[in-house]
Symmetry: C2
Subunit: 386 residues, 2 copies
């Protein structure tokens, strides 16, 4: 039996449902942040993250900070780019605009490469842009939570290595890590930033980042000091290294219960081959998308090849809006999210399918959600006499 | 019966023991950060904070962010001080050095006024400093967690209003809010920053700040943009205002479970007059200090008038070190902290007495700790043949 009280199924693109074990870990009794039991747990968690991101280079550096996913942008902007340097920002929705804003605050010069809604910038135009100017970094949203568009990390990486090998590849993996295939080493990623509350299956409150050896070298050779105090690699690097060596260390108090929850979730994730986890997310995503099509609904993603496997953004039938349909889902025990992309927010809804809701099929949440969507649409359309 | 497994009593100056209700709130099921149930909880929590800080000015602005207490310094440095402006930093230990570092990162020019260890800067020297130069802000650590020294906020505030009324009074209340007397309005405080894991009685992971109307006006009239993205008032102000008006809003995902825990803790704190809570902290602190004296031990605080009520920093007998005594306490189910002030870290220990461990006397944790200290010291001294 679940230890959590009965509640609607949270099927938005994060936060997501958490397992009973993770929920229990959140209620962990108070621990000293510098006492050996917690130090060992945090150390193990950092090592687990190496496995999750699939990096075996000991000089790859994990960071786990109290913060929202957004804090990962500050980590990149304040540590890896110096004032005046150019950054190429691939735009697939809401989050590129915000990342660009963040870069500007710290003095970088972002150039956005925008794709039409539902699409992603194409390799030839990215190649042309990279040849035009020297970019310190290229940022890409792996899964754009606002549109459900998936970007191709391997192809991007290949392009960068060929055309502009000094450019750092920065992957915003907030809605992808733990659900979409990421192989930090093989894909030659320099930064992959994420948050705890998406496909990793934890409550929100942790900013989680993996940084490559190359990016750490870039950081170490920067001329200006980091542009942030709380988000400074300089302040956190010795702390993370000490914790991973099971040595107590202090810069700011880590959120001990959230780290316990992350440790618990990662233990569960890593108890099976990570490739099985990616395959399960893909299988369920394909199923959801086929059912959405059966309902006569259209995805935002313009092509199956650029559709995420952790979520589906779905256009509503002409004339229907999220405030009409979402309560019908809620009355059936299902929570979806409304639109987030400013230009079309009133026209679509978002269904997050990641973590325990899809790895534990006995929960039956995916079919419950699809049925709720079908019935809810019918109810609204009937009421409107359509 | 407690819902938390048996564990050693965490009596360090934060994180502290949490109540069963708070622990259960941490295990709250997943909620949408923009769904009405959580929006209402967050809104209520922000209003509760007005009561905790004792401000009735509707233009005082609470901020609750995912982050460690340290993030509060970035909030001040990135939003309220502009590059090149002077800040007077009152030094009572470790934390002033760090706050000064943070201010420098964002371009401010901190001037430290240092007191001897165990003491605090005196009003006449502060007055002289304020007359010498125009300071944008003065920062003071209300309770310095590294030394247990208490600063006098009311007297400081009176001085500032008299000598340099434009200077913002910034109180680092990380180890004080919820335990030491703070009256935001009466004391004319401009910023009071704190964290969740000290006298507020929550797990770590939340940065909590109250900002005065005057300070918000200073922010709104700044010439340069805020120096941080994640810690920007510009990004968070509309979010906090919307949540408090029970309207969904999004900049970055708040840590929903930690907010539930904070709401639960504040509900308990505010169910009794806040003055009773301060009195209870004072009563237990006086008791601890009298017992420490009975044991022949000396406090770091040079005078009872500048000793905190939320913690006690205790010099060990000559020749004894924290690594010798702390395990003896641990074997008796009590966790104290070692020294933190670099110059004397090996000579003292720290006892945090705040929150549920002292408001719920039936837990018996204070006497358990004092007995463990007495027995532990005797054991070490016997083993050393002293």
């Amino acid at each position: 039996m679940s230890s959590q009280p009965s509640h609607p199924s949270l099927l938005i693109p994060g936060p997501i449902e958490i397992s009973d074990e993770v929920s229990q870990a959140m209620g962990h009794y108070a621990q000293s942040h510098v006492g050996q039991p917690f130090v060992n747990t945090f150390g193990e968690t950092l090592t687990q993250l190496r496995q999750l991101f699939q990096t075996s280079n000991p000089k790859s550096q994990p960071f786990v900070l109290a913060g929202s996913g957004t804090l990962g942008w500050d980590l990149v902007a304040a540590n890896l780019v110096e004032p005046g340097e150019d950054v190429l920002v691939l735009h697939t929705g809401y989050f590129a605009d915000s990342f660009a804003d963040c870069l500007s605050i710290y003095g970088a010069k972002p150039t956005q490469l925008k794709a039409p809604i539902g699409d992603r910038p194409q390799l030839p135009e990215i190649e042309a842009a990279l040849k035009e100017k020297k970019y310190k970094a290229l940022t890409v949203t792996h899964v754009d939570t606002s549109t459900g568009v998936l970007s191709q990390i391997q192809a991007l990486s290949d392009l960068i290595r060929r055309v502009s090998p000094d450019t750092l590849l920065v992957v915003d993996g907030v809605c992808s890590v733990g659900g979409e295939e990421i192989h930090f080493d093989n894909m030659a990623i320099d930064v992959c930033l994420t948050a705890s509350q998406k496909a990793i299956g934890c409550p929100p409150g942790l900013s989680i980042t993996m940084v490559s050896e190359k990016a750490m070298d870039v950081f170490k050779s920067r001329k200006s000091p980091p542009g942030s105090y709380y988000a400074s690699f300089k302040n956190w690097l010795p702390i993370m290294q000490n914790y991973e060596a099971n040595k107590p260390s202090y810069f700011a108090t880590p959120p001990t219960q959230l780290v316990q929850a992350l440790n618990t979730s990662l233990k569960s994730i890593l108890s099976n081959p990570i490739s099985d986890r990616f395959a399960q997310h893909k299988k369920v995503s394909d199923y959801v998308k086929s059912k959405v099509k059966e309902l006569g609904l259209k995805e935002l993603a313009s092509d199956p090849a650029n559709a995420a496997h952790t979520m589906t953004a779905i256009y509503l039938p002409e004339g229907l809006t999220p405030p009409e349909i979402l309560p019908k889902l809620m009355s059936r025990g299902v929570i979806f999210a409304g639109g987030l992309h400013k230009e079309i927010a009133a026209k679509y809804i978002r269904f997050g399918h990641m973590g325990v809701s899809i790895t534990d099929e006995s929960r039956g949440e995916v079919d419950k959600a699809l049925n709720a969507l079908k019935e809810g649409l019918a109810e609204v359309q009937q009421a409107k006499g359509q």
